[in-house]
Amino acid sequence: MKILEEVDPPLRDESYLRGRKQGYPPPVMSIPNLLRAASLLIGSLLFGAANAQHEGHGQVPQHDVVDSTVAAVVAADTDAPKLALEEAEHGGRFDAGKLIMGHIGDEHGWHLWGHTTLPLPIIVYNTERGVSVFSSSHFDHGHKTYGGYMLHEGSIVATKAEDGTDVHHATIDEPLTKATWDISITKNVMSLFISLAILLFVFIGVAKAYTRRAGQAPTGFQNLVEPIILFVRDDVAKSAIGPKYMTFMPYLLTAFFFIFLNNLLGLVPFFPGGANLTGNIAVTLVLALITFIIVTVKGNKHYWHHILAMPGVPGWVLFILTPVEILGMFLKPFVLMIRLFANITAGHIIALSFFSLIFVFGETNAGAGYGVSVMSLAFTVFMTMLELLVAFIQAYVFTFLSAMYIGAAVEEPHHH
């Protein structure tokens, strides 16, 4: 009875009801209203754009002006403007697919803003010509040939044209191109080096701080890093691997911080962020391969016994089960690779798709372009916030699943 009485008073207190009567709606009510308003706005914009398309066939010159203004307005924000502006200047239709693929892919040279690009070294090995090393600025944004090479759809191809020839007049030399190996420092490789430098700087500093200030309270970066390290140790390594977790802590921590930092850098729209490193399948392939190698090398007798001949299973079932288990051995790191790649790439694609809506609508009608830009910007910000969460969750999931696979490989048999 006592408990009931303690609980009751706030329920009997009708002050919040009185507040409602006097015309203060509780704050929760505003969210459905906002959604309703937003859907109405989107609906009217879509309708308006559809009508505008039907009516506005004779206004081509005006459209071109609109395209370049809309493109210029948003030009300050991401990689998008370069392509968008070029499209607008050349009078072509805006191609959202090309823009998005250009952003999530790799490139020779790092686009900074407008027509400014950070040149990166091109390193090409050709079995006939040998090694050539030169700056990507010689390609002049992919418009010129240099040293017998040129850019064709983003990749380096061999040509016999002289230096400085326009790429439209140069022909691709197929047999020489097949003998060419491109090992350039591209945007992604550069981004890898930058994140490497950041990680080394932060962690060597923190490690030194721990030896210098042994037994004292943490300061500076220690405060940032220590809870995350403890999280990886207690919630990931200890819970998934068990008593032998200490051997695998260096790998798990490295993987976690590498993925987390690069996920975050990928969300920064300007230098030194903006490269889609963890959304590059080659990078996730190597990360998953390391997990696979650790699991395979560290797997004990118990683990191999369970894969090759599952104990307690009738002999004829093993004909089905063993191939499935062996397939599973390769499938686990494969899914690890696909998951990280697809999550990060999908996030970038969705954010950029919302962004591209401005140009898609701007092409049909100026008003629609400006109107959609408000919603589009809001959605892009929302997606970026969601991606901040995904950046952490994917780093966690990759580390945790790696730890679980390692845990299964080093687990000691249970004595029943």
């Binding site: 559809a50 899914v335 696909i338 945790f400």
Partner: protein
């Protein structure tokens, strides 16, 4: 307007988009059930909230993996 965009895409692209959409439906059902049941379990046993959250994220990631397979296949069709 959207109808014309869909028609522009051509048959192969449209079906790739349909496949990716169907995979998203499947993953949506899966993640919805995981989330709903996990919240229910958390409400019933608040003391087990940390274990439940870890398992929820893990299972959601596994379901998501299946959806991403479909999405990557769809992307490959579109990009060829």
């Amino acid at each position: 307007m959207f109808l014309s965009v869909l028609l522009d895409l051509g048959t192969g692209y449209g079906i790739a988009a349909l496949g990716a959409g169907l995979a998203a439906v499947g993953a949506g059902i899966g993640i919805g059930r995981i989330g709903g049941d996990a919240v229910q379990a958390m409400a019933r046993q608040p003391e087990a909230i940390n274990d439940l959250r870890a398992n929820m994220i893990l299972t959601a990631a596994l379901v998501e993996g299946a959806a991403f397979f479909a999405m990557v296949v769809g992307l490959l069709v579109v990009l060829k």
